[in-house]
Symmetry: C2
Subunit: 197 residues, 2 copies
């Protein structure tokens, strides 16, 4: 089975047929992977965290949960998770504005641009930047609703498996965040990998 | 001060100048009001829950928090809240697909269409349906991230005040949800009101 690389700080997209399984591997253990999915036949229909939460009723999807599109149709189902069940659905993809907010004065790689570049390599354009499924990202919440950006709890080689419920385009970004500790306290974004079987 | 009506089950939009204050009144006490804001001069820039949470670090905005656009610029600041501080930022606006999922076989009023109709009355079109600020909506979470759709805790006449940080278009929908108890256990959506001062 061929592992496809999501290069450090970059995006990568691929076509997936209904029924295939995408395995997203946190190769080095501390890398957040922003994940999007679009209906292969209609890019305007895409995986939506806000629509998914309204149906599965979880801040983080559980094994067995379907992720829904903005038309409330299943597009991916989470079928296995060896990464500790800690992911994020509430934070936007990072973007040039985020890094400006964090003090950057020059261009910084970012997940929003990575989504566009990953899709562009397939000749596609995102209709917008949907709020991503941030795999391996650790955003704990308190009873009072306080949120924080914490290092991942996943381990090297841990993975999630997602079953495609329709023909789709999947897109990933190996998040280039190196200012906050969400890719580990060392602030060293790494590559990650995926397979389609 | 003129109160503007958000009719029961319908949408309403208005122009707001930078520095003006919008007061959203839960007139009858149990009505969810989906709320959106767009840059008056560029509808492609709009209030975004996922971008706001990444900066204010709260599942529900607190008094003093700025709501940010998808360019991470403040568009509204929550300056007063007499409604118990219970609102929602994690659920999508209801739409035809939601009511189909809930068993409706005929058209049901919905917040997504109400956004479009409210803006259309001003000659505007939403670039997409951003995930709304669901004022007065009670979506509690547990330590495990379980979510539920509960009746409002707000009281008749309670309100929130939002200060405009740029020239903007504000849009509201008096949520027509009458299947789940989010507009009260009676399932009777009502009107709400707002002022601009």
């Amino acid at each position: 089975m061929t592992q496809i690389t999501i290069p450090a700080r970059r995006g990568k997209a691929a076509f997936v047929a209904a029924g295939q399984v995408v395995t997203v591997i946190n190769t080095h253990g501390e890398q957040v992977v922003d994940t999007w999915a679009f209906n292969r036949h209609d890019m305007a229909e895409f995986m939506s965290m806000e629509h998914s939460r309204a149906t599965h009723h979880h801040l983080i999807p559980h094994v067995g949960d379907a992720l829904l599109t903005n038309k409330r149709r299943p597009i991916l189902t989470l079928i296995e998770d060896t990464a500790g069940g800690v992911h994020d659905t509430v934070m936007a993809a990072c973007d040039r504005y985020r890094y400006e907010e964090l003090g950057c004065t020059e261009y910084h790689d970012n997940c929003t641009d990575n989504l566009a570049e990953g899709l562009a390599a397939l000749g596609l354009t995102p209709p917008e930047t949907p709020s991503p499924l941030n795999l391996f990202m650790n955003i704990p919440w308190t009873a009072e609703g306080e949120l924080s950006f914490d290092p991942p709890v996943s381990t090297p080689g841990s993975y999630v498996r997602l079953r495609a419920e329709m023909d789709l385009v999947i897109a990933f970004s190996a998040c280039p965040q190196d200012i906050l500790p969400i890719n580990g306290t060392a602030g060293k974004p790494t590559e990650a990998h995926f397979t389609i079987t």
